[in-house]
């Protein structure tokens, strides 16, 4: 455990010095600041006003930015470190492979989740100061959703880093993965699959295998519990899970996907050449 924590602390300190992290922090802090500046807390959409309106917008933006950011920066730094000889040296020190891999994952997880979470906390503090009501239930669920999203894409990033033998290959694979998930994002496209006589359950099943779709639908469900904007797909989702069940699924499935990817990445890492 000591080795794992030492590795995690090392990764955090490396990340805090990295330029990508400064940009990453600036992006999420900046998004919240801009939403406040442009008076989003005073606007009204679909009956949402105040901080809940800001959080809805924030999570939509986060979903667009966070996955690709986490994927690219993870594979760049992990595969890049290996390519540059960092692994050759640091793995010559007496650290177990498990402590090294999971320590890196824990350190990186803290580093990528902290700015996103702190930006939300900043929004809440600003809301309290301005006397705006804080929707604590929504804040808690969104926090859990973002934590899960970070874990999901971090796990995938670690798997890609373990599989790819060069930074270029790792970056290419990460980008392709993100693009593929994006292409399967729209449930309207899945309407075409339904037209091609695929059963609705299979079509929606394919859609919900995509973690991006899971997050998007979960975020929608918070201000549209009946998922009216999704059209007929909503029936399948709500019949299968129910409103509360889907909320749980939206946290459990991506977290499991991220963890399984990380475990697979660890198996590849410990069985192959390290540097």
């Amino acid at each position: 455990m000591n080795q794992l924590w030492l590795t995690a602390k090392l990764d955090i300190s490396e990340t805090l010095r990295a330029r990508w992290f400064h940009i990453y922090t600036l992006v999420f802090g900046g998004v919240v600041a801009l939403l406040f500046v442009f008076g989003l807390t005073e606007s009204r959409v679909l009956g949402f006003i105040g901080l809940s309106r800001l959080l809805v917008t924030y999570i939509q933006l986060t979903m667009a930015i966070l996955p690709i950011f986490v994927l690219i920066t993870t594979v760049r730094s992990v595969a890049g470190d290996r390519e540059a000889g960092v692994f050759e040296y640091l793995l010559s020190l007496p650290v177990s492979l498990g402590a090294w891999f999971w320590g890196k994952l824990v350190g990186r997880y803290i580093a990528i989740f902290a700015p996103v979470f702190l930006a939300m906390v900043g929004a809440v503090v600003a809301a309290v100061v301005k006397g705006i009501e804080v929707p604590w239930g929504m804040f808690g669920y969104y926090t859990a959703l973002l934590a899960t999203m970070a874990l999901c894409f971090l796990g995938m990033g670690m798997l890609i880093s373990a599989l790819a033998r060069s930074t270029d290959m790792a970056q290419g694979a990460a980008f392709m993965l993100w693009l593929t998930l994006l292409l399967f994002l729209d449930l309207i496209l899945l309407g075409l699959i339904i037209q091609e006589r695929v059963t609705p359950e299979v079509a929606v099943g394919i859609a919900l295998a995509n973690p991006l779709q899971v997050f998007r639908t979960a975020a929608l469900a918070l201000f549209d519990p009946q998922l009216i904007v999704l059209g007929p797909s909503a029936y399948v989702i709500l019949d299968t899970f129910g409103v509360a069940g889907y909320k749980v699924f939206a946290l459990a499935y991506p977290a499991a996907l991220g963890l399984l990817s990380a475990v697979a990445g660890y198996q590849v890492f410990r069985r192959g050449d390290l540097p």
């Binding site: 030492l6 490396e14 010095r17 000889g85 960092v86 793995l91 020190l93 007496p94 650290v95 192959g272």
Partner: protein, 285 residues
């Protein structure tokens, strides 16, 4: 102590190590030489448990891949190219010391003996240090603990003459309780440090020879050089070796670390046509 048995390593179709059989005992100081691509770094990485391979590598009968933590605690490693670590010098020292179970003050003390003022660079990123500073710090981390095996890839390449002398002294202090594996593609760089030479070529051991162990790692030689005429290039080279001009660039005098004698003579040989007289006198210990 260290045993390579039928060790082979293949990358895609290229066989980089080919059935290596080698045994290395406690106290042996091995020069691992060979041209680029001979397999030296791959052999070292197999020893460090970093590569999967065919055959067997053991240290005291144990596999460094399976028992990483226990065995790597016994190995001090200095890589050929310093890694581009972004962490601060202090963090690297603390991290290495914590993993190796040693006191960071030991590492700092060795770094300072080598001429690196750790306090003045403690907060600087490792990657931003000069080549020589990086090398001194990596050597200090390798020697600042109770390592039984020292694996060094071109360890003295970036060191200035003073630091080289101290480095040889440090190795001399460890020569009876540690096994050393020093890799280089030039024998003259390491010849006087070692008592056995193993040469690799195309992944095979092509030479395994014991060498006379007469050179003291901590000894010094007094050297006098007389040249036929003053020559700026030679003067610059001798000044680099901390020689003093005793008369218009004709008479030079200096001191050379014992293990560096071959390297010094190698340098001098480039100016052989200018040399009138050379004397090397071993100083009593």
């Amino acid at each position: 102590m260290i045993r390579f048995r039928k060790l082979s390593k293949t990358f895609k179709r290229a066989r980089v190590l080919d059935d290596i059989d080698l045994e290395i005992g406690l106290g042996e100081r091995i020069a691992l030489i060979g041209s680029n691509g001979a397999g030296k770094t791959t052999l070292i990485r197999c020893l460090l448990g970093e590569y999967v391979h065919d055959g067997e590598v053991t240290i005291d009968g144990r596999d460094p891949r399976r028992e990483r933590t226990a065995l790597l605690g016994l190995i001090g490693f200095v890589p050929q190219l310093p890694p581009p670590l972004k962490m601060s010098v202090q963090r690297l020292i603390d991290f290495s010391a914590a993993l190796c179970g040693t006191d960071p003050a030991r590492i700092v003390a060795i770094a300072e003996r080598l001429g690196l003022d750790v306090a003045s660079v403690a907060e600087r990123q490792f990657v931003r240090l000069s080549g020589g500073m990086k090398q001194k710090l990596l050597i200090a981390i390798a020697l600042g603990r109770d390592a039984k095996v020292l694996v060094m890839d071109e360890p003295a390449a970036n060191l200035d003459p003073d630091a080289r002398k101290i480095f040889f002294d440090l190795l001399a202090e460890r020569q009876h309780d540690a096994t050393m594996l020093i890799s280089s593609h030039r024998l003259d760089e390491v010849s006087a440090l070692v008592n056995r030479v193993v040469e690799l070529d195309m992944g095979k051991v092509v030479l395994d020879d014991r060498v006379a162990d007469d050179v003291s790692l901590s000894g010094m030689l007094t050297c006098r050089v007389t040249v036929k005429r003053a020559e700026p290039a030679l003067a610059q080279a001798l000044t680099h070796w901390r020689f003093e001009d005793r008369g218009d660039g004709i008479e030079w005098e200096g001191r050379i670390p014992g293990p560096d004698r071959l390297r010094f003579v190698g340098m001098l040989s480039r100016y052989v046509a200018l040399i009138d007289h050379v004397s090397l006198t071993e100083q009593p210990a």
